[in-house]
Symmetry: C2
Subunit: 304 residues, 2 copies
């Protein structure tokens, strides 16, 4: 196996992403040692039982000692407070990063606490499942997934390159952009779809018990795919919507405008308009399959 | 294998559902012979190449001769015209059914053309993929899927039972309800989710080329699941929205109300409200898994 890229990676937060990073760093030899730090004693106990870290004492000083890469893997809402707590323990020359789904807010929260001589390079791996916690992680989560880096303008190119090699080693494809651009793109591709999925499942939940049980029974007709998205971690998603408020509200505004047009077509019986609209959206699906972001295998109404 | 339930099933329309029914009727021995009739000469030629029917001449008289079960498998919008064309060829005592995703409209369109002595029992199998046409069908499409029958009040119980046994034989689970109730439940579980998915993919498509290519690139973050739904057959879905207009508009109204509440929570920064909402929707997902309508296997960001 190739030489490890970091001597020691310290992961702060052992949820789905943090615990997957621990396993991946070890399995793909991206770091010589792995430390995990989580605010929850229960999670730390579970991390020790799972044996996915070399250092899991729960002590910040012990976790960050000798760490040349520190990755904050907490919900976005607390990353500023976490950075403040970690600051005193960061080694000179260390690289500080994160995995947050929102980048402008993370930069605003974390940057003020970064000590001189520490390289802060935010990152966002576009990978996940609807499950949470240290048991949900697995080392191949990042295979063939994108990881977006949003380095500040004055970032050390060598540090950016080293972080990119870390993500590449564990299977990801790396892309670089500004935090602002990241937040707009993700508002559309991720945050808005999650909001809509949560909303439609909520609409169903508002019906009485009889209807709700029928909705569950006949969910394979389309609804089911939304429930998977709407089963994602509530704390993580609360923080995303609060942290990327403006971009989400803008995308939601556009979505609502478009929905009004479809609604009017249905009300007026505009069959040609509906057919044209529904034909257009097929092309995007084809592009996604061509670019390897999904397979053309039909969904048989259930996963195998 | 058990005795076939029908001597001959005639399938009118050889799309995904019709061609799957042809294969299933044969593979599971639900009918002694299978006839297929499709208005498109190209489709009929393909049906003959695929060899999935015993009779595939394209002649209505030949297709319906001796058929004790005739199933209309066309888009909902043309089933009335199809029923009118078939009426003269229906055998006395035959059972006429369909597979439409909307039931009140099908009853209104088809019932006036049903000759005396023919049993008309509408049906809707909740099964499908995002692909269309005779090549897309497969015999196990209906395994463990629900098929809803909406027999009229004066239906012959023996005929209803026989149709139920046909669907059970090819793997489906059968449920009976009124057309009105069916249309309301499906508006929520199927029609609204499809409308929303089409809409969000359309919103993305409205952006310029640069953003669109980024949306495709980073689609694994949630958007991708919507594109699969929004790749469904445009003609079929146009007809569904036009045929189930009132129920769809009602469900859309509720959805919009709920979305306004979420939008306000985001704008006002109501973290507790968002967290409560997102926690509630997780419970519905658990029920769906418990009832065997999906598995708990995580979606790894791609299908295997």
């Amino acid at each position: 196996m190739a030489e490890p890229i970091f001597a020691r990676v310290a992961l702060v937060g052992a949820g789905l992403i943090g615990s997957s990073l621990a396993r991946a760093a070890r399995d793909f030899g991206a770091a010589r040692a792995v430390a995990i730090l989580d605010a929850s004693p229960d999670v730390m106990a579970r991390v020790r039982d799972l044996g996915i870290a070399d250092e899991a004492s729960g002590d910040p000083a012990a976790a960050l000692k000798g760490a040349d890469l520190v990755i904050i893997c907490t919900p976005v809402g607390v990353c500023g407070a976490v950075a403040e707590q970690l600051a005193a323990y960061l080694e000179p020359g260390a690289l500080l990063s994160d995995v947050g789904s929102v980048k402008e807010s993370v930069v605003a929260q974390v940057a003020p606490h970064v000590p001189p001589g520490v390289h802060f390079i935010p990152a966002h791996p576009i990978a996940g499942t609807e499950f949470s916690g240290p048991d949900a992680g697995f080392s191949t989560l990042f295979q063939n997934r994108w990881c977006i880096l949003t380095p500040p303008g004055d970032a050390d190119p060598a540090a950016v390159d080293r972080l990119a090699r870390f993500w590449t080693r564990i299977g990801a494809r790396v892309e670089t952009m500004s935090p602002e651009h990241h937040d707009r793109v993700l508002a559309l591709t991720s945050h808005l779809p999650h909001l809509i999925a949560y909303n439609i499942v909520g609409t169903a939940d508002d019906f009485g018990e009889d209807t709700r049980s029928e909705v569950i029974k006949f969910s394979a007709s389309g609804f089911r795919d939304f429930t998977r998205i709407a089963a994602s971690d509530p704390t993580m998603w609360r923080d995303i919507f609060l942290s990327n408020r403006e971009a989400v509200l803008e995308m939601l505004g556009r979505f609502n405008e478009d929905l009004s047009v479809l609604q009017r077509m249905i009300r007026r019986g505009d069959g040609q308009g509906l057919h044209d609209f529904f034909s257009r959206t097929r092309a995007i699906r084809r592009s996604i399959i061509e670019q390897g972001q999904d397979t053309a295998a039909p969904d048989f109404g259930r996963r195998k």
